[in-house]
Symmetry: C2
Subunit: 188 residues, 2 copies
DNA sequence: GTCTATAGGGCGATAGAC
DNA sequence: GTCTATCGCCCTATAGAC
């Protein structure tokens, strides 16, 4: 046993989600979160740059997973195929955390600031995918177009994945949406 | 002459953009903005729900313009064609405000909170377009897919429109990107 | 760990326009 | 009288500085 209880970050994360569910994000102060985790507000801010981030830290790992998958696709595959592969990797990453993801989604849906933060995380992810595509020799604009479009599919797939009664895996839903998109696009 | 100088909102907007350019968003307090506009901080918050919003209020009009254009497309046009029409309306709406838009873009690019706010405005726009499409009888998921994809194109087109040396109109750029997207998508 | 500036909300007062 | 835009003062929580 060390001098402190272990896993301060994990305890803060758990405490935060619990409190946000119990009494909403706005009605929870950083001091409340820290107290439940047995820490002080000052300690909270040493682990998270701001109050919102306690729900979002960890997205770097998803990003890395998707970028890695994209970069490992064989040479010569199309931009959209590479993006589809990255989406498949996200599916494996998500696995069966639906119950947790649903609680988290509900908290985020109720608060504008949290929705903003979620969007910027996805925008970062999009930029990383575009970089990775460009790194593979794809034209810069085409790379951004494919990445942004891919993220549009990602957002919608994530939403559907968490919908009531949905039983398919994330990547199956994403693949289905990509197919529908292909049918949609030629009209322009 | 009334008791107060007219157009408090306009004065606050101008003062804010000036100060953000002069000394950055972070280094400008709401009191600074209000002072330059000849008002107090309390009055600022009566017109804008928060400090960020002073740069974004007005986006409702763009949204209305695009939704109206979308709804006025003839019956039977495809989802992507309707979205393309909305994009064309946005082009007319933007007209020749490039100089202003560039200053605004530079301020926003320098601050994470402002980027977040911009993203949520675009997400709202996307949701409105999806609603409008659904209202026209398009399947709900297809509507969201088309709207999200359209917004991906919108974001990129806006970016390119403000790039140095760009001389085309916004809608010309958007139309070009939609064409490129159509070529990209079938690969999936 | 303490100290502080700023965001942003609540409530009431005021001074015009009508 | 009402309605509306402004200001003043109080407050708390966030988040950064020291």
């Amino acid at each position: 046993m060390g001098r402190w209880e272990p896993d301060a970050v994990g305890r803060l994360r758990t405490a935060a989600l619990e409190l946000f569910v119990e009494r909403s994000y706005e009605q929870t102060t950083v001091a409340d979160i820290a107290e439940r985790a047995g820490l002080t507000a000052r300690t909270f801010f040493r682990h998270f740059p701001d109050k919102r981030e306690v729900l979002f830290q960890g997205s770097e790992r998803l990003e890395q997973t998707m970028v890695d998958a994209l970069l490992q696709t064989p040479d010569g595959v199309s931009a959209m195929t590479a993006v589809a592969t990255a989406m498949g990797a996200a599916g494996s990453y998500f696995g069966d955390i639906q119950a947790f993801a649903r609680r988290r989604r509900d908290v985020i849906a109720m608060n504008a600031e949290l929705r903003e933060r979620e969007l910027i995380k996805l925008a970062k992810l999009s930029a990383s995918l575009a970089d990775a595509l460009a790194q593979r020799g794809i034209d810069a604009i085409e790379a951004r177009l494919a990445a942004e479009t891919g993220m549009a599919v990602f957002r919608l797939a994530f939403d559907l994945w968490l919908a009531d009664g949905e039983h398919r895996r994330f990547d199956a839903i994403a693949a289905d949406l990509l197919r529908r998109l292909a049918r949609l696009a030629p009209g322009a």
